[in-house]
């Protein structure tokens, strides 16, 4: 407390620095409250100080204080999170993190214009992403990404590497939720190849989203990769795709259902089913071909029903017919359908087209 009074006196004496009082006094108050473990008050005071600093920063012509602003943006978020858990444990509504989001949006506004300060805009964007993802308000990311991605005055590559990696990780996750797999692949692959190699946890997080994306465009991770980053929940899914084993796919999805739902990739993985059907049909085709080269391109639906029964999947001929039509429609199988004789007639040329980096048509 003594410190606060002294500081206040000293600052007010020096009249021409009086604007710093608005920055420093609440900052001392924030520190004091923090020390007393009163986090809500600490946050409120800190935001006041941060706000005053941002006002000053706006007036400065150069971006000399950018690093200080980074620290402020980061601390605002972290302090708000702690204040929220204090509020929640007292039975009150946590609202500080939301407030921190609005404040950082203002900071973003100060940086996002033309000039030398713009280089800092991506750092604040990443802090905003962390807030929005935590609060489940990811739709708010849009206004920030639009400003970053449409700006002609500033090339994305000029931002610092650490911010580009974080930005690509979060926007990549957004693309996964929107099922834009080629954009998701591009962004997450960028994050993967540029991430600091010593940040293994971050690499693991990138892979957690990149793997489902790669699987849906027909690319498999090697076992070594899954093991190194402890992503073994994907082991059986990859194996199911390799084998054409529908039962294994269902089991793997079921076994890790909670995990996949939490990270939001469950629906993406569920759609792999069609690829697994394709693979199973291809295996049946190859087995037939080994026996009789000439008739191999005609597959009886009965045979598929039997294969599925063996995999403990109970389906009648009509249901199988329906699945086959979907495969043909989605261009996973080339051929046509002899409805009367209950036979799929496969094209003699490339009956099972590969995805080659593109998602299954939807």
């Amino acid at each position: 407390m003594c410190l606060k009074q002294d500081a206040s006196r000293v600052i007010r004496q020096a009249d021409r620095y009086s604007q710093y009082a608005d920055i420093l006094l609440p900052l001392f108050r924030a520190l004091q409250s923090y020390r007393l473990k009163n986090l809500v008050e600490s946050y409120q005071a800190f935001e006041k100080s941060a706000n005053a600093f941002t006002q000053e920063f706006r007036n400065w012509e150069s971006a000399w204080a950018l690093e200080a602003l980074y620290v402020i943006a980061y601390e605002t978020r972290i302090l708000a999170e702690r204040a929220d858990s204090e509020l929640a444990s007292n039975g009150k509504t946590p609202e500080k993190l939301k407030g921190a989001g609005s404040f950082l949006m203002k900071v973003f506004g100060v940086l996002a214009g033309k000039g030398s300060k713009r280089v800092g805009a991506l750092y604040v964007t990443c802090q905003l992403f962390k807030i929005y993802f935590k609060l489940g308000t990811v739709h708010l990311c849009k206004s920030v990404t639009r400003s970053i991605e449409t700006a002609r005055i500033f090339d994305f590559e000029e931002f610092p590497l650490r911010d580009k990696v974080t930005y690509m990780y979060y926007t990549g996750r957004l693309e996964v939720y929107n099922e834009n797999f080629s954009a998701a692949d591009h962004k997450l692959s960028y994050a993967l190849s540029h991430c600091n190699p010593r940040k293994e946890r971050n690499i693991r997080m990138i892979l957690k989203y990149l793997i489902p994306v790669k699987l849906s465009i027909g690319i498999l991770p090697k076992t070594l990769l899954l093991e190194k980053y402890n992503l073994t929940e994907y082991n059986n899914i990859v194996l199911a795709l390799r084998r054409g084993d529908l039962r294994l796919l269902q089991r793997a999805l079921h076994e890790h259902e909670d995990q996949f739902l939490r990270s939001g990739v469950y629906l993406v993985l569920e759609k792999l089913e069609l690829q697994v059907y394709q693979r199973l049909l291809k295996k049946i085709y190859i087995i037939q071909k080994q026996k009789d080269q000439n008739k191999a391109h005609q597959i009886k639906l009965d045979l598929i029903v039997r294969a599925l029964k063996w995999l403990e999947i109970d389906m009648d001929v009509d249901e199988v017919e329906c699945i086959m039509s979907i495969l043909i429609y989605k261009n996973l199988v080339k051929g046509y359908f002899a409805h009367k004789s209950k036979v799929v007639v496969l094209s003699k040329q490339d009956p099972f087209p590969r995805l080659t980096g593109k998602a299954v048509n939807s």
Partner: protein
């Protein structure tokens, strides 16, 4: 503080909603690294031509047995 303990169960659920399990770890502000140095490993551990014609794995052999035993029954 001790008097304010009573309803932990509901709080847990509530806080759970405010969670992102996969929050990206901060890179230190002055941390720098070579963009090209990484990747060699994680970016090369992928296969895009895995879809081969090999049917000699256990799964395929069992499938084959299954299909053939059934045709014989007919």
């Amino acid at each position: 503080m001790a008097t304010e303990r009573p309803k932990p169960a509901t709080e847990d659920v509530k806080m759970d909603l405010f969670e992102d399990d996969d929050e990206f770890e901060e890179f230190e502000i002055d941390q720098e690294w070579e963009a090209k140095e990484e990747g060699k490993e994680a970016t090369q551990q992928w296969e895009d031509d895995w879809d081969d014609d090999d049917v000699n794995d256990d799964f395929s052999l069992q499938l084959k047995r299954e299909l053939e035993s059934n045709t014989e029954k007919k």
